[in-house]
């Protein structure tokens, strides 16, 4: 607007200066014209003196709740900047839609300012946020320069997690290997691996005594082996979900069940089908952080259309496994391929309070 006004004034002044051949008008027109290169120069200088940092400090958000994006703007020159326009945008992996958020601010010379922008999503998944570009104006607001932003950050919107009281069959609890005195606190790849040597306690088997070491320290010492987790249970997430709204509930149901299984001391796999790689992926879950790690992988797995039951696909890849729980977009909970429970979207938290399988 200001640039248009400036051009109009320049034309009018130029016309008057030429028409009347008035030296004052000519000088005025010259000064007015010179403001354009001066403005461009000021914009360039200001642009070089601005440091802009864009971050998503929380990294993780809950669906439907605001999540903060943060902008730090630092002006390293003494010149105040009258107007800076920042174009933020975010792209949700499942929505496939770009949201743009323009932010306008100003900053004094040698100052630093923090701006916070709230975003939210009604869908679980990863939102890629970025400072797409920013624009800076000269002090008179006539000329402006645009600059591409390079900063990116991601925010993971987590599903709601509900408390579930789960009654699982015996087959869900991970079976131990054949090593003696396995330590259930220590996972390991091999039950022949010694994880710890400790003092003898009454009840320890004589076979586990480390005689050589016991002679050296003049006390009975026993070997403690690692636990060989041989879980044959899997919780499968059926990602064939064209309707995104169901995806929220499916993740809520699946993740709530996963946490409930952990509370029941079950060691299990979280499994999903990666349609792009045509492969069934899975991750062993032994503690809380493994569930979140699996969730991160689930977010990276593409949603696909398929008519083949996921249980059959899983059996094809892992024929030795025999206990399966599966959650799908119809909010069904399948046990070994058969529907054990059917839930509906509304009031899901109440429906899954108690689940018996």
């Amino acid at each position: 607007m200001r640039l248009t006004f400036h051009i109009v004034i320049t034309i009018v002044l130029g016309y008057l200066a030429v028409f009347y051949a008035n030296p004052i008008m000519c000088t005025l027109c010259g000064v007015w014209l010179m403001m354009i290169p001066v403005g461009i120069w000021l914009c360039r200088a200001t642009r070089d003196d601005l440091n802009i940092l864009f971050t998503a400090p929380n990294y993780v958000g809950a669906i439907g709740e605001p999540c903060t994006l943060s902008l730090k703007i630092e002006n390293c020159s003494d010149r105040p900047v009258g107007k800076i326009k920042l174009y933020l945008q975010y792209f949700h992996q499942y929505e496939k839609k770009i949201y743009k958020i323009p932010v306008i601010t100003k900053i004094g010379g040698g100052e630093m300012t923090w701006l916070e922008v709230q975003i939210s999503s009604d869908l679980v998944g990863i939102a890629e946020c970025s400072l797409h570009r920013w624009q800076v104006w000269d002090p008179l607001g006539i000329m402006s320069l645009k600059e591409k932003g390079l900063s990116k950050a991601t925010v993971a919107f987590l599903p709601e997690i509900f408390p579930v009281r789960l009654q699982l069959p015996e087959s869900f609890v991970g079976s131990e290997g054949e090593g003696e005195d396995t330590n259930p606190q220590r996972g390991g790849e091999n039950n022949s691996e010694v994880f710890q040597i400790r003092e003898y306690r009454p009840g320890d088997r004589p076979q586990s005594i480390h005689w050589k070491l016991s002679a050296r320290v003049d006390d009975l010492m026993v070997r403690e082996y690692s636990r060989f987790v041989q879980s044959k249970a899997a919780l499968i997430f059926d990602m064939s979900a064209p309707d995104f709204t169901d995806l929220n509930e499916m993740f809520s149901l699946g993740i709530s069940i996963a946490f409930a299984m952990l509370e029941n001391d079950a060691k299990f796999y979280i499994a999903w089908y990666h349609s792009d790689q045509n492969h069934m992926e899975r991750m062993l879950v032994e503690q809380e952080e493994h569930v979140y790690e699996a969730l991160s992988c689930l977010f990276q797995a593409p949603v696909y259309e398929s008519q083949t039951p996921i249980s059959d696909v899983y059996k094809r890849f892992f024929p030795e496994e025999h206990v399966q729980l599966c959650v799908n977009r119809r909010l069904e909970l399948l046990y070994n391929g058969k529907v054990a429970h059917q839930f509906v979207k509304e009031n899901l938290a109440n429906q899954i309070k108690e689940i018996e399988i």
Partner: protein, 320 residues
């Protein structure tokens, strides 16, 4: 300030460890700062070679323990043995009774044995049968560990991790360095080329001089703000302890000393902050969802927390 001795040590280590100048500077800085060093990386990248090269170049009495599940605390601290002739218990020195203790693959042993090092690292002494014995001075622990999750490894307890001043990753060498390494190995053991260039007394003199480096109050405040930011971060379950802040200050002083300055600048803090802070941070479980790492958090905090002085870009352009 005269850090020429430190430069000579680094020069000697460079003969055995090729292409890892940055790592060598960090280890030297930590030694000057009276700190202990944890080198965390995959097998075969030169962790042990570097540790041994340092001990050789500094002419320190070194002992090495290859940690396995059946290494006992007494192997580290020492133990008392009954002597029939005298009818008394006699103390037998443990592996820690040296200047430079090389704990190889420290995370392959039990937490109990790892914890045996705690007193030695913090107090510079070991207590056996109620009697406390001073360790020789200087006392430096250089420990190597394989990444957690490798077969047969277990995580170091937080209290132990906190006692390591820095945790360094070495990484793979680049192509030209790798060629040099292979050439060097075919000519013999590169450690044989390393000669002692200082003594234990020389190292202690450097440590004393580094402690005299001046740090402005604003820089102390900056360090404290960095550490506090780790505690307040939403993705962090356990932030950096005050011991971490002390380590940050000591490393800053040592780095300034290495650069022949008797004062520290914010750039010193920034350049060592990651090595000092990252291993002291325990992330929240949720961090796994977005694949957030402690490294990312420290990077973000360094960018966020304003440095005590702000140099203008125009001045930066003018400076060489």
């Amino acid at each position: 300030m005269d850090s020429s001795a430190a430069l000579r040590v680094m020069g000697e280590v460079n003969k055995a460890v090729i292409g890892k100048k940055e790592c060598i500077v960090k280890v030297m800085t930590a030694i000057i700062a009276r700190g202990h060093i944890l080198i965390d990386d995959i097998p075969g990248v030169g962790k042990t070679t570097m540790a041994m090269a340092f001990s050789k170049a500094m002419g320190l009495e070194q002992r090495r323990v290859q940690f396995t599940p059946d290494v006992m605390p007494a192997d580290i601290t020492g133990f008392s043995v009954y002597q029939k002739e005298t009818g008394q218990f006699v103390y037998q020195k443990g592996a820690a009774m040296c200047n430079l203790f090389l704990a190889d693959e420290i995370n392959r042993t039990s937490p109990k044995t790892q914890s045996a090092l705690l007193e030695a690292m913090e107090e510079g002494s070991v207590t056996v049968d109620g009697i406390t014995r001073e360790l020789p001075k200087p006392f430096v622990v250089i420990a190597t560990q394989n990444p957690v999750g490798s077969a047969g490894t277990q995580m170091l307890p937080e209290s132990q991790l906190d006692r390591f001043m820095v945790c360094i990753q070495m990484g793979y060498p680049d192509l030209t360095d790798e060629i040099e390494i292979v050439k060097g190995r075919s000519a013999g053991n590169p450690l044989e080329q390393v000669c002692p260039v200082i003594t234990a007394e020389g190292l202690m003199r450097m440590q004393r001089e580094a402690e005299a480096v001046f740090i402005h109050d604003m820089l102390y405040e900056y360090m404290s703000r960095l550490v506090r930011a780790t505690r307040e971060h939403p993705m962090v379950q356990l932030g950096v302890s005050p011991r971490g802040t002390i380590a940050l200050a000591r490393m800053t002083k040592a780095l300034a000393y290495l650069y022949d300055r008797n004062y520290a600048i914010p750039e010193d803090v920034v350049s060592i902050a990651k090595d000092v802070l990252v291993h002291r941070i325990r992330l929240a479980s949720k961090a796994k969802v977005n694949q957030v790492t402690a490294d990312m958090i420290v990077n973000e905090i360094i960018k966020k927390v304003p440095q005590p002085t702000m140099r203008r870009k125009s001045e930066e352009r003018m400076s060489p």
